[in-house]
């Protein structure tokens, strides 16, 4: 466990990023939920929190693995000269996604539990399905944005990808549910499956980039 965390922390740009990742960011999301309740209805807030988290995760990743898969960037010779280099990258990428998914799950559980308590146990099933669907969709779209952020070493393009995915969930949701009358439950499930494929593919692709660094041709 310690080795995994150390590998992940090796990619964080400075101690301040650990403060942001482990303290500022989670506290800000919880604060957003409570403050947001003063202005937004429950349903709107359930949509806002995942999308804000999506944006925050993309921003953080720009400074951690941003551009890592771009041509030549995975060729870090300090790591390549050691037999432990490839393993370190694999562990860092895995811990990064575990942390991210854990944050989403914990935040979702918190939002659900608080709403359940607030509603006296009478949560609308449709609302719950909607919330899970939004969460799954946001996480999946975030994984797509991370493909761009990690493969293109250009801040403008990375911010462009971030902008698109922040706006995309609302549009897609309206199109898929209103026009195609898609069931929330199946949409959420589909997003979870796609998320799993996207995450696995991304880790595989980036570790492949590290392996390719050992070859000039």
């Amino acid at each position: 466990m310690k080795k995994y965390l150390q590998s992940y922390h090796a990619f964080l740009p400075g101690t301040f990023m650990r403060w942001i990742l482990y303290l500022v960011y989670p506290v800000a999301m919880v604060a957003l939920f409570f403050v947001g309740r003063l202005w937004f209805e429950q349903m709107a807030l359930m949509m806002v929190v995942p999308i804000v988290m999506l944006g925050a995760e993309c921003m953080i990743d720009m400074f951690v693995f941003g551009g890592f898969g771009a041509k030549g960037n995975a060729r870090i010779e300090y790591m390549m000269a050691s037999v432990k280099g490839k393993g370190m990258v694999n562990r860092a990428l895995a811990v990064d996604w575990i942390r991210r998914l854990l944050y989403f799950i914990v935040m979702a559980a918190f939002v659900y539990a608080f709403s359940y308590w607030e509603q006296g146990g009478n949560l609308d099933e449709m609302m719950v399905q909607l919330f899970v669907c939004i969460l799954a969709a946001a996480t999946f779209l975030m994984s797509i944005a991370l493909w761009v952020i990690r493969l293109i070493d250009n801040r403008a393009v990375q911010f462009g990808a971030l902008y698109i995915v922040i706006n995309l969930p609302a549009w897609l949701f309206m199109i898929l549910t209103k026009k195609f009358e898609m069931n929330f439950k199946w949409l959420g499930l589909a997003c979870m499956v796609l998320l799993a494929i996207s995450v696995a593919g991304q880790i595989w692709f980036l570790t492949k980039k590290v392996r390719e660094g050992y070859y000039d041709v």
């Binding site: 150390q6 090796a10 740009p13 000269a81 050992y214």
Partner: protein, 297 residues
């Protein structure tokens, strides 16, 4: 003199973007400091990439530490610095130390911190300043961090690719001292193999020289042997025509001519008014590189 080799290369070939590295045999003597000299594009970095294990697309055999086969031991015992993307750009100097501890079992963090102070990369621990990221450091500072990271490890061979290039004269002198101390402390068990395109800066720390041109080794030997093999010659303008046919490298100037002659051809200069002296390694390297470049052009 039977000298042990710390590194032996046989039939090494690597093709890269129209360039071919072709080395039938290469031996790095153990317990000495070896310089790999060559002009830009000669293949020095390509050779170092292969030896350091950061490039695997080559054919041939490399024998490390007289037959050591365990990859982990080899990588632990080799301290490598390069000219390319060595660190992650967003790493701080302290992070380099943390990552070093993860990557190498023999990395000494305290020694690393001490070296950073010794090389004036950062001040003593009592005077903490905000650390810059690697990307914001100058080339010279980045090289100092690289050197600190390899000298902080308990290695048996240092593989330094153009370590002197980005350094100021004072730091180059310091580097030479560090290399001499490293070899002295090793008592014959530690070796240094470094590359340079300007040997004048590192000549006083070079025991063995290998000269490379267009991916091939064109000359090699202990410095003292090379200085016996080649002779620096200066002569009058009147003898320039005849001397140009004999000298290994030849250059006319306003006083006459000067160049390098093979010691075995010295008797061919009989009858000419010439002065001879022992050439520097820098003069020998330039002469050899010029000679082989002209043959291939």
């Amino acid at each position: 003199m039977n000298i042990e080799s710390i590194l032996t290369v046989n039939n090494l070939k690597k093709k890269f973007k129209g360039f071919v590295l072709d080395i039938p045999e290469l031996r790095i003597p153990k317990g000495f400091s070896t310089a790999l000299i060559g002009e830009n594009g000669a293949g020095k970095s390509t050779l170092f990439h292969v030896i350091s294990g950061t490039r695997l697309d080559f054919t041939g055999e490399i024998d490390y530490f007289q037959g050591e086969k365990e990859e982990k031991k080899i990588r632990e015992w080799v301290g490598y610095t390069s000219t390319g993307g060595y660190f992650m750009p967003n790493w701080s100097i302290s992070q380099v130390g943390n990552v070093g501890s993860l990557l190498f079992d023999n990395f000494d963090k305290e020694r690393y911190q001490a070296l950073l102070e010794e090389l004036a990369v950062k001040g003593p621990e009592g005077k903490k300043k905000k650390e810059k990221s690697i990307s914001k450091l100058s080339d010279g500072m980045r090289m100092k961090v690289m050197l600190a990271s390899v000298f902080a490890r308990d290695t048996k061979m240092l593989l330094l690719d153009e370590p002197a290039s980005p350094l100021d004269p004072l730091m180059r002198d310091k580097l030479c001292s560090m290399i001499r101390e490293y070899i002295h402390q090793g008592a014959g068990e530690k070796s240094v193999f470094f590359s340079t395109h300007n040997i004048a800066d590192m000549e006083n720390v070079t025991d063995y020289a290998i000269i490379m041109e267009k991916g091939q080794i064109v000359e090699q030997g202990f410095v003292e042997e090379l200085k016996e093999k080649y002779v620096a010659v200066k002569g009058e303008s009147g003898d320039a025509g005849k001397a140009s046919q004999i000298l290994f490298s030849f250059q006319e100037n306003s006083f006459g001519f000067e160049g390098i002659c093979m010691a075995k051809d010295l008797d061919k200069l009989a009858g000419m008014d010439v002065a001879t002296e022992t050439p520097s390694l820098s003069q020998i390297s330039v002469a050899v590189m010029k000679h082989y470049t002209s043959l291939r052009s």
